[in-house]
Amino acid sequence: MKNLILSVLLIIPSLTKSQDPLDNKKPEIKTDFSKIKDVLKNDQLEEEVNKKLAKEKGLKELEEKELKERFLVPQSNEIWSFLSELWIIRNTEKLKWNFEKPDYGMDEFFAKFLEDQGYYELNFKILLLDNSLIPHFCLPSNPNEAIFLFSAPFMRILDLSKLEISLLLLEDYNRNKMNQFKNRVKSPDLEKTFGMNFQKQEFPQKVFDDVLKSYDDLVFDKGFNFEEQFEITMKMESILKSNTTLWNTYLNLIEKIGNLSKTNLLYKDYAKLYPSPEMQLNWLKPKKKAL
């Protein structure tokens, strides 16, 4: 084999020489190229070259695919946590979440509480706010995640126990599971953007700006409506009524919040965000039968 390759290497320069116009007089050497081809074939060089080319092509295609993927708008199962956290970041000063606070041990308590109620494998993040205006919210997030906002002054003024805080978080979580928040902030245009590729078209910036604006409207101003509030109250009844301790704690909690919103000017807007503790109690308490 080596001899063959050597002979091929010796033949090639002589061939190039023969093409020189000055050496026209020299006799032509006829080479059987088919034999060289056979040699290359036997050495599997052709295969190697093809493999290398295919690999290079594959790599190029992969690079193009990766580049294209980077222009993708995330799907609905990946986008919400990003949007909610972006909204939190954009409202850092308003929400006042960046402050030192003691460890209330809510992580362990709430995890255990969720497990007791049959909510498993839920990753939750609770952000305490040094703000009286936003009592508690659960922001839209990716599946199996929950992002909670909870006001520390609200917690202190009502002297809420860990169980009461957990009940409010559970209410907010279920509100989210019922898509009450998402339905208020997402537009049909937003849904169209999920998974779209904007490499060769304009990025729908306005759609996302509008979503973040809708977060503002809902959290800082409008809150939820009576219909949504009725839905969640009934849901909570179905979850808690079988457990007397939880049920009574929930009823007392709503009463406490109702009294606060009536007597403390700082919390007068609570009933606007969550209409209304009084109505909730009416929906939940058994009706007195007329004699």
């Binding site: 498993y120 990753n123 939750f124 305490l128």
Partner: protein
Amino acid sequence: MIGKLSNLHGRYKLKIVFFLFWTLFFDLNATSLPVVNDLYFTLFSGHLHQGPNAQSTSLKILNCGDKLKVITSDKEEKTNSKFEWVKLQTGNYIGFVRKDFISNDQPSCFNNKYLKFVEKFNLEITDKYNWGRLYDNYVWGKSKVK
């Protein structure tokens, strides 16, 4: 004669190898150089803290996928935090990050996967700083598997 010489040469070789191995082994033990591993930061953004505490000064903003060298030392760092903190190095900075924010495996990062999408929101350095602070401020938890 040649045989003897080569035998002598072989013995010297063996001694030199043995000496090198011995000195290297004892040198490592004597100076207790840190054992260094590569780990990755897993969150969207975060901070390399000066001390093992979420309120401690930020030395550097970290991004998801940032490679970090973990420095393990014999001395345990004293911390009031209930979380485990890891001492690590990135570039010229040595600081602390919560153990649950780092991973041995390269994470799948939102900011890398959707690079151009994230770029469209023009996140400034203060946004990245605040995003890291947000993760420091969260109360993180998880309910267990059924």
